[in-house]
Every structure is written in structure tokens, then in C-alpha cells.
């Protein structure tokens, strides 16, 4: 069976349309405002006039994110050989693979459990989307989440997917759970709370395996954490998630702590997210200035 599946070949039916992060970032329009920093909150709360629309859009983002997380965890189960698996070793030897990507069987079991969780989350997200008046494929799908699951090193993949991607999921689910609670939505708060519990577990799996597998390989651990930093910045979506009230999604510090992030790691993510917000604002301002000059010319 084929290993290492490229993002371009994800199976989707005609309801879906995909957009890359580069295309998304090229959009010169900005929801951040043309007049520089503002004290106005963009946090996703029911008192926002566009709350229902914004929540529905975020729910669709969660839905496609869950599909990609399912695909990522499933690939990690299959793509790497189990240490001590003689049948698989023979295949790898034939393919010229040196076996350095071998992972403990228990790690694969965790990934299998995660794939099961993600499949359940996809079903829950579809039902929540229906409930909120959304439709499958209503919004373009950003495939950056699966791209983080394409590393050929299983530890980098865990850092990118379980710690960065699932870490973002903790932030998103916390925001949605609070939204449902404040709005009095009887299903949203309940479902998000259950999914949040799973996400905390997924991040904890990533944190634990990262430490365990790289226990005697500080260089590999450093590389994995650097990769996580890059992915965290990408997942900050140009400021969509940060401690700033200008970001719709907040940083769920307490749940990140429960998931095995150290205080220093949470602070790093907070800094990276805020930097992403500021970079995005500067880039948008530059593009808008250029467009205005073009219009005046």
C-alpha cells in the first residue's frame, strides 16, 4: 500500500473546493480595518453583530480540519514501520529504507485511537453545521492542516499535527464552547466540551511521544520543536488566534497546560501568534496602500 500521501491528492467530492494558504494570504482585503490598530474586540462572542455567520464559518473550518486530522492520524499509523516488525522491515529493506523512521507500536495505537476520535468529530461537526444552517463545502477548504502531516519524520509529524494543529483545536474548541454557553445553545456547548476533552488528549499524546522518542536525541527534538514553531505560526492564520482581542480566537492557556505545554511553550506560542497578527496587519496595510496608489494613478 502506498505511503506518504501528498496534499494534492486528498480525496474530496465535488462539494468541496480547496484554497492554499498562499492564495488566502494574497487577499488584499482586511477585516482588521484600514485605520491601523483598534481597541475594538473581534473575539467570537454572541454579542458580535455577525456572530451567527462567524460561528457557522468557524464550524465549517472545524469540520474540514477534523477531516484532515483524521487523514493525518491515519497516515501516521500506516506510513511508519513499527520497531521490531520483521515483515515490514523486509519491505523497507527492499525499498532501501534505513529504518530510522521506526516508531513504537504504542505510538501507532495512539494514532489509531486519534483517527477514531477524529472520525467521530467529523460526524459531530457535520451535525453541528446542519444545526447552524451550514452546508458541506459552503466555504473553501484550506489544506494547510494536512500539509503539516506530510513530514517524513514521525516526530516532526507529531510536533506539527499533535502539538501545533491539535493545540490550535484546543483554542478553537474553547472559543466555540464559550460561544455556545453564552448563547444558550443546548448542543454547541455540550459537543464542543466533549471534543475539547479529546483534543487535550491528542496534544498530550504528542507531547509525551515527542519527549519519549527523542529522549536520547536532543538534535532531533530541537528540529521537531522548530518545526512546531513554524506550524504554530502558520496556524495563527495571520492573527486569527492570539491573546489579543483583535483575534477572533483566544489562546486557551489552561487547557494547553493540561495538554502538557510548559508555561514557556505557551508564552512562545502567544508571542508567535501576536507577531503573526502584527505581520498580517502590516502586509494588508502595504497592499491597501499600493492598491490606493494604483487607483489614483
Amino acid at each position: 500500500m502506498r505511503k506518504f500521501f501528498p496534499v494534492e491528492e486528498l480525496a474530496r467530492d465535488s462539494r468541496f473546493s480547496q484554497v492554499t494558504m498562499a492564495e488566502r494570504m494574497k487577499d488584499p482585503r482586511s477585516a482588521l480595518g484600514k485605520d491601523g490598530p483598534t481597541t475594538k474586540s473581534n473575539r467570537l462572542v454572541p454579542s458580535r453583530p455577525d456572530a451567527s455567520t462567524a460561528a457557522r464559518a468557524l464550524m465549517h473550518g472545524i469540520f474540514v480540519g477534523e477531516i484532515q486530522a483524521l487523514e493525518g492520524a491515519g497516515r501516521t499509523c500506516h506510513d511508519f514501520r513499527t520497531a521490531g516488525d520483521s515483515a515490514r522491515r523486509a519491505q523497507d529493506d527492499d525499498a532501501g529504507n534505513d529504518g530510522s523512521d521506526a516508531v513504537p507500536f504504542a505510538l501507532k495505537l495512539d494514532m489509531a485511537r486519534q483517527a477514531w476520535d477524529e472520525a467521530r468529530h467529523v460526524e459531530i461537526s457535520v451535525k453541528l453545521s446542519d444545526w447552524m444552517g451550514g452546508e458541506i463545502g459552503e466555504y473553501a477548504e484550506n489544506t494547510v492542516l494536512f500539509q503539516a502531516a506530510c513530514s517524513t519524520d514521525p516526530i516532526l509529524r507529531l510536533a506539527g499535527v499533535n502539538r501545533a494543529l491539535e493545540g490550535l483545536a484546543i483554542d478553537v474548541f474553547t472559543t466555540m464552547k464559550e460561544f455556545g454557553d453564552l448563547a444558550g445553545d443546548p448542543y454547541l456547548e455540550f459537543c464542543e466540551d466533549w471534543m475539547l476533552a479529546d483534543e487535550v488528549t491528542h496534544v498530550k499524546m504528542g507531547s509525551d511521544w515527542l519527549r519519549k522518542v527523542t529522549e536520547n536525541d536532543p538534535e532531533r527534538r530541537k528540529k521537531a520543536l522548530e518545526f512546531q514553531g513554524v506550524v504554530d505560526k502558520l496556524f495563527s492564520y495571520g492573527g486569527t488566534r492570539s491573546d489579543s482581542q483583535e483575534s477572533p480566537i483566544g489562546l486557551a492557556r489552561r487547557f494547553r497546560e493540561l495538554a502538557g505545554f510548559t508555561d514557556a511553550e505557551v508564552e512562545d506560542i502567544a508571542d508567535v501568534s501576536l507577531a503573526a497578527l502584527n505581520e498580517r496587519k502590516a502586509a494588508v496595510e502595504k497592499m491597501q496602500r499600493a492598491a490606493e496608489q494604483f487607483a489614483e494613478a
Binding site: 473546493s17 454572541p46 454579542s47 455577525d50 456572530a51 444545526w131 447552524m132 452546508e135 463545502g137 443546548p186
Partner: protein
Amino acid sequence: MSVTVIPHTFQFVAFDAALIEQITRTLVEALGIEQDVTIEVDETTPLARLRVDTGDPIVVHAESGAFEDTRRPRQQSEGATATAIGRVLLRARDRMSDGFGEAPPDHELTLAQVAAWEAYCVGRVERLGIAVNQQRWRYNFRNRHGFTDHGDAVFDRIWSSDELTWAELDELSRSATAAVPAAS
């Protein structure tokens, strides 16, 4: 009756001013609106807010997200354009009718009043033959009026109405909100 779209050409988004004009003209005729209509699109933001100034001309201020195809960022959706313009033209027509004289100005409306009026407008847009997702508007109504059976019944009544006055619409909205059990 004339329809004007500003700008004529778009730089930030791939919208078609002629299509916006054609959709607006069709709606204006279907709704029996006699005033001139101007559609001003703010293409510098992806947000989807709509504002309408009643008078002659009626001026619709639309942010680009209101007309956008969410499946294809920066491209125009004919359905979204028709729903958005239909909603605000109906609101403008309501305001210019006798039964809505007491309605507060837009910036003084509560979120619940806005949601009730939106349900009233979009229900009528649907009866013009424009496809809309009713559940989307029901969810918005629930967010503003609580998640109760009575609220749902009120939504159904508003959605299927064609001849409400502001006083009736406001009373329906209040009755839905009043049905929410007090937090213990």
C-alpha cells in the same frame, strides 16, 4: 427608476458591476420600488455588513463579503448578491411604508430586533424565488431570542408573513425573548 453600481470596476475582488445592476433591477421591479437605487460596494474588506439609506435614491452600502462566493474567495456569488440586496431593499421598503414609522433607526435596533426583521425580510426573499437556507436564519433568530419551542414558532410566523407592521414584528420578537427561562 435607475440603478447605479459603485465602483464600475473592481480591483480587490472579481465582481461584475453589470451583474449586480441586473440583479438589483430585477429585485426593484419585483418589489415595486419606485425610487432610484445606488449600490456602493466596499471592496477593501471581506466582511459582509450591509447598510441602507432610505430616500431617493435608496443607497445600499455593502461590504464585499456580502456578495462573495464563500467557496471561491474574492469571486462573486449571484445567490448571495440577490439575497443580500433583496434583504436590504425589503427593509428600505418597510421603512418607507406607513406601518414601520415607529421603527427606531438602524443603529438603535437591538440584536433581537435586527434578527426578527432579517427573518421577516429573508422569508419574503425566498417567496420571490431566491434560494435561501432557512436554518441559517432560524439559527440567527435563536441566538438572539433563545433556543425555545415558542421562539421557533414565532420565527415560523415571522418567516411566513407578508404584511407585518413594526409594532407587530417588535411584539413577536419580545414574546420570543420573554419565553427564555431565567438563568438559575
